[in-house]
């Protein structure tokens, strides 16, 4: 089989190995975990993992090398790992003795998403370019995220992962019935005396809305959604959201990163000319006080937290809130246009040294999420596009979407349960993760203490 064909095959990670690996990593917290992934025969199958315990990252020989990567590595001496030669040798002998081959490496991220960073790239490419690299993020310990990357001098690509068994269908048989979909929507969209959904399950509600839209019956949409679930959204929009919105004219802009500048960044290439229609976007992220209009539990938060960004919000919850106030989440293209604010650099500011004027990130945040709008805005009047909290976008994530996608108001929407785009970085992010064009994704049901959202709205053409 050719290399190219092999590369399109998913990497097989049996559920039993995955669960055992995650249990081991969670049990070892707050320590970082790292080690080898090994196989009996297939280079794209994981049969087992071997954990390494010794970490000489903080020895005189290595500490400085890590700290050269910035403030984050000075403040967090648990960020980074280097195995000891003695243990590496012991493990190598064990691999040979068991008749296995190392096919990949793994390590856990305690605070960051499961992304592949510059230091990961530098250390990987100089040592073992023939192995792939699994990152396990435990920033939400109840929902660890596993991603595998293929690394070469041509860049980094995320690999698909399969369990190696029969893939179960995500379709609900009842969803094929129009009557069943409408009946389900009626029950899910019921409102209480204050006009709030009785059902505290944003995923069920958002999926029901999507199903109704697929039916393409304007009368049903009007009855159940516009005048039903979302009744009063225009009033909420006028009262609470429009004062926060900045109108942007859109137009042509360069989205993505040129291929010769891709380094270790995944899914950012090629750079394309995108045409965007006019839209509006909130100048700040949604706060707990604002989100509390829909989720009253948030109003019980301490006063200082009420004015902080609403975090621990899933994509479903963010989407439902956006609809409920007459908006939507920003399309990824809109988000990038708004963040870059006309700059062709890595950030809206000219130099990385200026980033601390407009962003709370690892170099200046001390890990504390701040009230939105405390720092300077970008030239479009938008605050905290870089840093503070990651932000959900409307789009489904596809690392190939820049190659295959459209160029006029592009938005990539697929079946709901697939990963959604997150942008901007957070207080724990390195400057590279706060870049205008930096893309990550999370499952729509995922939530994290540094993941929030802002709102957008289309505007009519003048």
């Amino acid at each position: 089989m050719s290399d190219d064909l092999r590369r399109s095959d998913p990497i097989i990670l049996p559920a039993e190995v995955r669960e055992r690996l995650l249990a081991t990593i969670l049990q070892r917290l707050p320590r970082k975990s790292f080690g080898y992934l090994v196989s009996r025969s297939e280079p794209r199958r994981v049969d087992d993992f071997i954990l390494l315990e010794g970490n000489i990252r903080n020895t005189e020989e290595w500490k400085g090398r890590f700290e050269a990567y910035g403030q984050y590595f000075m403040e967090h001496d648990d960020a980074g790992f280097v195995s000891t030669p003695e243990e590496t040798w012991r493990v190598q002998k064990e691999i040979w003795k068991r008749g296995m081959t190392e096919v990949g490496l793994f390590h856990s991220h305690l605070r960051h998403p499961a992304n592949f960073s510059g230091i990961d790239y530098d250390m990987h490419i100089s040592r073992y370019p023939h192995l792939w690299h699994m990152i396990i993020s435990v920033r939400n310990r109840t929902m660890p995220q596993v991603r595998i990357f293929n690394i070469s001098s041509d860049g980094v690509r995320e690999e698909k992962i399969a369990e190696g068994g029969v893939t179960s269908s995500i379709a609900d048989p009842a969803e094929h019935s129009i009557d069943a979909a409408i009946a389900k929507a009626r029950s899910f969209f019921a409102l209480d005396g204050q006009g709030l959904p009785c059902l505290h399950n944003a995923e069920a509600i958002v999926r029901a809305i999507e199903l109704l839209r697929k039916l393409n019956d304007p009368n049903i949409i009007d009855e159940l959604v516009t005048r039903g679930l979302l009744a009063g959204s225009e009033k909420r929009l006028q009262q609470h959201i429009l004062p926060l919105m900045k109108p942007l004219e859109g137009g042509l802009f360069q989205m993505g990163t040129a291929t010769d500048r891709r380094r270790h960044f995944v899914g950012e290439t090629p750079c394309r000319t995108i045409a965007l229609s006019p839209f509006s976007i909130t100048s700040v992220t949604v706060t707990n006080a604002l989100f509390g209009l829909l989720d009253r539990r948030r109003l019980r938060f301490l006063k200082e937290d009420l004015l902080k960004p609403a975090v621990n919000v899933s994509w479903y919850e963010a989407t439902l809130f956006a609809l409920w106030v007459g908006c939507r989440l920003p399309m990824e293209s809109e988000w990038e246009f708004a963040c870059g604010a006309g700059s062709d650099g890595e950030w809206a500011c000219k130099e990385e040294a200026d980033l601390r004027r407009i962003a709370w990130y690892a170099d200046n945040s001390r890990g504390i999420i701040r009230q939105p709008g405390q720092l300077e805005s970008n030239s479009y009047g938008l605050h905290d596009m870089h840093g503070n909290v990651w932000e959900w976008c409307k789009d489904t994530y596809d690392q190939a979407s820049y190659v295959q996608g459209g160029t006029i108001d592009p938005v990539h929407l697929r079946i709901i349960p697939t990963d959604k785009v997150c942008r901007g970085g957070s207080v724990d992010s390195l400057a590279e993760m706060c870049r205008t064009r930096y893309r990550i994704c999370e499952p729509p049901g995922f939530f994290a203490s540094d993941l929030g959202f802002r709102l957008a709205r289309s505007r009519p053409l003048h």
Binding site: L52, F66, Y69, V82, P85, W89, W96, R127, Y128, H133
Partner: protein
């Protein structure tokens, strides 16, 4: 003859066809070993060796089951020795 053992991710640098883990080399000293690897397996040498006869950071030498942390420059090798070059795994 010295038997040089390689982990699979380094043996890939010897040649695409090489699928074993042991290569016979015939140096009597470390500098001779480096020169031989540079001549016979340049891709492996580029990965492993730095300036002159140094190992790149993160690589380590094992001789007869003993990790040699320092002083490998003055090593002498004998017939039947088993040598391995290791890579410490590292990341952020």
């Amino acid at each position: 003859m010295v038997n040089l053992m390689l982990a699979s991710h380094l043996s890939n640098l010897v040649s695409p066809e090489f699928c074993g883990k042991t290569i016979a080399v015939k140096p009597s000293s470390w500098p001779e070993f480096v020169e031989e690897v540079r001549t016979r397996f340049p891709r492996l040498a580029n990965r492993v060796f730095g300036h002159r006869y140094t190992l790149n950071p993160g690589f380590a030498l094992v001789l007869n089951d003993e990790v040699i942390a320092q002083g490998y420059n003055s090593l002498h090798f004998y017939n039947g020795d088993e040598m391995c070059i290791l890579v410490n795994i590292a990341g952020g």
